[in-house]
Amino acid sequence: MKVVTGVVGNDIHVVANRLIDLSLRARGYEVFNLGVNTHLEEFFDAVVETGAEVLMISSLNGEAEGWGREVPLLKSRYSNLDDVIMMIGGNLVVGSGNTEDIVARYKKYGFDLVCHQMDLNTGLDMLQSLSEERGIA
């Protein structure tokens, strides 16, 4: 299964990104890692180009909220992205916030899995369950 991953926006926190890369490979995924400082269009373009089943976005520095709001509009400009599993994790707000509220908000932006300050392995387990559910594992 193909995964496009990277860190969204003007965010350069790379450590998690390196670990995600390692972990995805260890779990047998084919990884296209766009690295840090990746803008939304680049993510969507890469998904289209690679035919990835999963888009896994990280955000650490608090920018995600700003970018998240752009997702619905931008996604609507691409066709054939409806089946892609959209996943986001890291620190999803500036400052601290209530996880339930945050999850609800990001689901509205179009994400299937929202992993605010969640341990990486828990997040990857969730991905596995969801892909099995959707019969794409």
């Binding site: 003007n10 790379v14 690295g35 920018e63 500036v94 400052g95």
Partner: protein, 454 residues
């Protein structure tokens, strides 16, 4: 009109800047209160200066933050800039500032200084009449620095290496050097009007398993690049590394070599200070534990003999700290410094020798590069991996050096890549670690070592 001045006019004629009045700014700097200059405080100080971090989107929030800091007996105020402004994305910064103001929700992780402009910001800075330090992480900081100095901010953090390799993916390195050359010259020029503007390098880099030799080399090179341009007050810095002894050794070596190399280029008239950052890596989510870590950092800073300490907060793992949490660290740190008495003098000659040899070997390799200017030598040395920063997101960084912690949690180089670590030192570093393990366990060890304080 000088070339520099021409360049300045171009940079400051920008859709995001209100008409910049050069004469008025020069007059302001000339007459500014000595209290605004950290260089003045460094000279007069009888204790370690305490500086928190902090930047909020709106003017009102930043003002309120400063009130809290002053109540907590702060020595140096911070102005941390948001990540859009850092990457010169002023349009996004402007939009997010408006959203923050309208929505009562922070959409920026710092103060968008260019967007607020110097006329507004100066009101706040002069009101509090404390030295302010600009924290950004911007490769092209020309516009930002002009705005900062015009606002009364007389300490500028960063440098062409330390604000590039940890903070950018693909900003061209040569451009960064030229832009920072501009910054140094602007600082040097303004320094002639009043007390010197202080420049500070950003030693923590990626805060992730960076070995002291790399940190020190980069500190020394940025210092030299700055002094060359006429800067008269410079701070080298590094952050807590995880082993008390390694920090003490690093502090001793950096102080010794900073003076040595400054002298070598005939700049012994410049004042060199040492800044220590409380732990900059991954923090524990437990906020009580975070406080223990912060306090330990203060103890180590004292043993290192730092001139300034830059603090963290109990909320570091979570998100931008509240002003309350931030001010609390300041008060606590001041108290700790007050009760930290009878510090022993620690000297570890063997470790100092090894580290000194490593730094001198790398410095020599840089100086031996055939290019004509120092900045080009440094540029080439980064490109060919003589300087290699672990966990840098920048595409030009070699990423071939591998580091790990030994049993006493010292950061050790187990793969030197292209960095000219002398044979004897390399053997010593490797001999401290268990290298018989397979690759998977070494990777697991690295993950563990990143999270050592969690």
């Amino acid at each position: 009109m000088s070339l520099l001045q021409e360049e300045r006019e171009i940079i400051l004629s920008n859709e995001y800047v209100d008409a910049f009045d050069f004469a008025e700014v020069a007059e302001f700097v000339s007459g500014a209160s000595k209290n605004l200059f950290i260089s003045h405080h460094f000279r007069e100080r009888d204790k370690m200066l305490v500086q928190p971090r902090g930047g909020f989107p709106t003017y009102e929030q930043q003002y309120a933050l400063y009130e809290f800091f002053v109540d907590a007996n702060v020595d140096v105020l911070p102005l941390t800039v948001d990540s859009n402004t850092r990457l010169n994305d002023y349009a996004t910064a402007k939009k997010m500032l408006r959203l923050s103001e309208e929505n009562d929700m922070d959409m920026l992780n710092g103060y968008p200084l260019v967007t607020h402009g110097y006329r507004t910001t100066r009101k706040m800075i002069t009101h509090f009449n404390k030295p302010v330090s600009l924290r950004h992480g911007t490769p092209d900081a020309r516009l930002l620095i002009e705005t900062a100095i015009a606002s009364g901010i007389f300490e500028i953090e960063g440098g062409p290496i330390t604000y590039l390799l940890p903070y950018s993916k693909n900003f061209p390195l040569d451009k960064a050097f030229l832009y920072w050359k501009y910054v140094e010259r602007v600082c040097a020029n303004y320094s002639q009007l009043n007390e010197p503007i202080n420049r500070e390098s950003f030693g923590p880099l990626t805060a992730t398993l960076v070995p002291p030799a790399i940190t020190i080399v980069i500190q020394l090179l940025e210092m030299l690049l700055s002094l060359e341009e006429g800067v008269k007050s410079f701070s080298v810095s590094f952050s807590q590394q995880g082993s008390m002894n390694q920090d003490i050794v690093t502090g001793a070596v950096i102080k010794k070599l900073a003076n040595h190399y400054a002298q070598q280029i005939g700049c012994d008239d410049a004042m060199i200070n040492l800044v220590y950052h409380q732990w900059m890596g991954a923090f524990p989510a437990n906020e009580d534990f975070a406080e223990q870590l912060i306090n330990l950092a203060t103890v180590i800073a004292s043993m290192v003999g730092a001139d300034k300490i830059i603090t963290k907060t109990r909320q570091e793992a979570t998100g931008i700290p509240t002003k309350e949490a931030n001010a609390k660290t300041v008060a606590d740190t001041q108290y700790s410094l007050r009760i930290l008495n009878g510090l022993p003098t620690v000297v570890d000659e063997e470790e100092e020798e090894i580290l000194t040899l490593e730094v001198r070997a790398i410095m020599e390799a840089v100086f031996n590069d055939p290019a004509d200017t120092l900045w080009r030598k440094v540029f080439n040395s980064i490109k060919n991996g003589i300087i290699d920063v672990p966990f840098s997101p920048h595409i030009i960084n070699q990423n071939e050096m591998i580091t790990i912690r030994d049993a006493r949690k010292n950061i050790r180089i187990i793969e030197r890549g292209n960095v000219p670590i002398p044979e004897r030192c390399y053997e010593y570093e490797r001999s401290q670690c268990d290298l018989s393990k397979d690759t998977t366990s070494i990777v697991n060890d690295i993950i563990h070592d990143i999270g050592i304080m969690q």
